[in-house]
Amino acid sequence: MTTSDQPGYRPAAPGSQPPLDAPAYGSTHKRHPKQPPLRIAATLTETSAPRMSAGLYPSHAELAKGPGWEAQGERIIVAGRVLDEDGRPLRGTMVEIWQANAAGRYNHERDRHDAPLDPNFKGEGRIFTDAEGWYRFTTIRPGAYPWRNHHNAWRPVHIHYSVFGAGFAQRLVTQMYFPGDPLLPIDPVFMAIPDAAARDRLVARFDLDIAEPEYALGYRFDIVLRGRAATPMENPA
């Protein structure tokens, strides 16, 4: 038996994470491992993380408008804090987003949806959280788009998020949704999360305090990364 001397990260709360095998989401059929994952005690590999900074990975948080260009659509500000499960802010952590344009089309060669491309909307951004864990992007409210999962399948309006953290085991890729979207209860990706409260936390809150008068509406989306376990775990070997 080997014992780690590194406290790792807390396991997921029951129902709070989607399963890898989600029958209603067709692409999982041939891509989910059939063997259960091997739970390992944390080592330095899992508790350390890449040091990222705007110097190495240039940030840009203005997706809607810049000198000489302006994207089509409804301007919005999405902002929030990155915290861990103990409520501690994660400062200086890299937050990346990517999304479709206002018409529901990605600026991506493999997106064949018959909707207009916007030459002024690239649809990706990157920023580092401040000392209180805040991030903030100005962008365009994306459109819903069709996909081929089943007949008449449409993804709810969403923005993809990629977040690092202070440890490799905190890595998170997720999607932010919009309140009141009628597609949410019939979306196999969103509905794959068993716990309704966990699903609800992926829906941004409309927030007039984040809006900018005469310029853009505001949405608040906080992101919580895994918290550290209190004690090291023993390896089963």
Partner: protein, 186 residues
């Protein structure tokens, strides 16, 4: 194992990266030794890590985001070397990183982990990312590595890259089915 008491917040749910994550792909990031990158000045054994990712039908997965996280040649995560890379698989499902060979990483007590890199996979069809490790064939420390030792012997080969020409190491990753790769819950 008992669940620890939970306080405060619950970690945000994962969702698939989908088919269009390439908007945050920067192909240069697959080369950790790129001239304008963070590691241009760091010395060590230059290696290429490559392999094919296939699904339950054995079909290549051409749309994967693969991330790499590793220690420096001295086995440290805190030195000058920034051991992070991101790579898209190509039409044949192949990934390819250029990096420095990591050294043994300290483990519990006075033990060492065998040289390894952590790999993270994101894609359409993966509602949560997958984590695995790449080890190097022929390393004496492989025999006592705490993670490899926890893997049933018959499945260990799925984590061990084989040499393929000078400085090139290959490890294929099978998401599902025969010789399925061992994935880790970290």
């Amino acid at each position: 194992m008992t669940d620890e008491p939970r306080f405060g917040l619950t970690a945000t749910a994962s969702q698939t990266a989908g088919p269009f994550w390439h908007l945050i792909d920067f192909p240069a990031w697959a080369d950790l030794l790129r001239a304008d990158g963070p590691n241009a000045e760091v010395a060590g054994e230059r290696i290429i890590l490559t392999g094919r990712i296939t699904d339950g039908d054995g079909a290549p997965c051409p749309d994967m985001m693969v991330e790499l996280w590793q220690a420096d040649p001295a086995g440290s995560y805190e030195g000058a070397f920034n051991g992070f890379g991101r790579c898209a698989t190509d039409d044949d499902g192949m990934f390819r990183f250029t990096t420095l060979k990591p050294g043994p990483v300290r483990a519990a007590g006075n033990a060492f982990q065998a040289p390894h890199v952590a790999l993270t996979l994101f894609a359409r069809g993966l509602l949560h990312h997958l984590v695995t490790r790449l080890y190097f064939a022929g390393e004496a420390l492989n025999e006592q590595d705490p993670v490899l030792s926890a893997v049933p012997p018959i499945r260990r080969a799925t984590l061990i890259a084989q040499p393929e020409g000078a400085g090139v190491w290959r490890l294929d990753i099978r998401l599902q089915g025969e010789r399925e790769t061992v994935f880790l819950e970290v």
